[in-house]
Symmetry: C2
């Protein structure tokens, strides 16, 4: 039971990867079922809390490292649940979550990377993007919001942008949560059948669903063209929620471990501060 | 066991309240010990998640309500732990945590409420201030950073400011976490004795400790002059961490319940959307 090797190896997009061939109920790299998966998520979460505190301490003492989780996926793929799982296990201080929706008029008046840059995690921070700059080569393309001459050069631009982000000290973890159209129908049906979930439902969800193949094709091109050495894509099968939560927790944990941070060494003279403390009469 | 009445009644600052008389190990309003307290916190947390989702849904559908938790307390009083507890139980989306430290040069160049206004929770959001505008009548006063003519009028100004915030739809929950000087010494000692906590230690903590009475007096005046009908103060004894976490969870839960929100009613025609869903061939 457990991971058969580094989860990143099992989930990272390899050359020739074809999204159409993915079994969205599979659990690549994981040997075990739901119960063991949930236990492993909780156990990894406790380590995550420690790793994230170390990152935060590093940032508070002049360090420049940070981690950015970029989440993409079709509606109902479970981005919100993954965010709740991962961020629910760490200290809210030191975390920065940004959900990117339809651009506001202010955002739309700027370069599409403007709002992204503003949301990049500060040193010491674990940042999470719920949707991201990839929408500018996904929804924008499929819905024909801008002409091909506009979105086509963005792949290269995004690669250059991410290189810059990585070089400034941020580890980028890009994850596509992949569900099947059948699973999406099931989740949309549940949303429609439960009155207290109605607020989450917008008719545009079905509009997008009707262009499923176009979206898959757009996602495939994103994977083909922007899975770089400095910022590779991971595709996480997401029909089983317990697996997508486990997998992303693991990927973020590994990214934090990869920073190889130690607890900062204080410049304070501990002995003399202890003496001051004992002498302080209140 | 459990709360003997509304926690807010037991913890709200009553006329004539004297901080010097507070037993910081007491558990006002709560009948039970540590284990029951922790269980109650977890149980309340599950309700909190639901209430916060309702608030978020309300904000997403045009509602104007929000909740703001304002946390104050001496160093090591446990503000960070309370934040982790409360926010760890709700959806990170829909939460906005701001920690106010020493003002940056940009902030210092503005009115002291400038950075506070910028951090007010948006509609549908549960905001948390870890320290707040109250530092501008606390540390600023005790450390003599501005003259009395400057800070003295701030009490009235803060009351007027908070009234404006409340009138715009925000419920303000103000909490002072009160520890004893002995408990602070214990916690500072632990911080100094554990190398992986050194990064949290700054010698200024002991500087402030040496002015304990001045701070207590400044806090007393804050309670006397800014515990208003629209934004009352609560004093939570905080020597026992399990109690402060339980109490603040309960206060925030009650504030959310007090909004008396229902799940938004959708304008979508559910039947026809279900039909569209079934017809969507992918």
């Amino acid at each position: 039971m457990g991971w058969s090797g580094p989860a990143a190896d099992a989930l990272r997009v390899a050359p020739g990867f074809d999204l159409a061939d993915l079994d969205t109920r599979s659990t690549p790299g994981w040997r075990g079922k739901k119960r063991a998966g949930r236990d492993a998520t909780a156990a990894r979460g406790r380590e995550l809390a420690d790793l994230q505190e170390k990152l935060y301490a590093h940032g508070r003492t002049g360090g420049d490292r940070s981690v950015l989780l970029v989440l993409q996926g079709m509606d109902t793929a479970g981005k919100g649940g993954v965010v709740r799982t991962v961020l629910g296990m760490v200290d809210p201080q030191g975390v920065a979550l940004t959900a990117f929706g339809v651009p506001t008029p202010e955002e739309a008046a700027q370069h599409y990377l403007w709002r992204i840059r503003r949301a990049l995690p500060a040193p010491g921070t674990l940042g999470v993007f719920d949707r991201s700059h990839y929408e500018d080569v996904l929804v924008v393309r499929v819905e024909g919001l801008v002409p091909v001459e506009t979105w086509e050069p963005r792949f290269e631009e995004i690669n250059a942008f991410e290189r810059e982000v990585v070089e400034s000290g941020t580890t980028i973890v890009k994850v596509l949560l992949a569900i099947s159209p059948e699973e999406q129908a099931h989740r949309l049906r549940r949303r429609l059948e439960r009155p207290h979930k109605h607020w989450k439902y917008v008719p545009e969800d079905i509009d997008a669903r009707e262009r499923w193949r176009d979206y898959q094709q757009a996602y495939q091109e994103v994977l083909d063209r922007t899975s770089t050495e400095h910022a590779p894509w991971h595709v996480v099968p997401a029909d089983r929620k317990w697996f997508s939560r486990l997998a992303v927790t693991e990927l973020v944990g590994r990214a934090l471990e990869g920073l190889d941070l130690d607890w900062p060494v204080t410049e304070v003279d501990v002995e003399s501060e202890l003496a001051r403390l004992e002498a302080s009469e209140v």
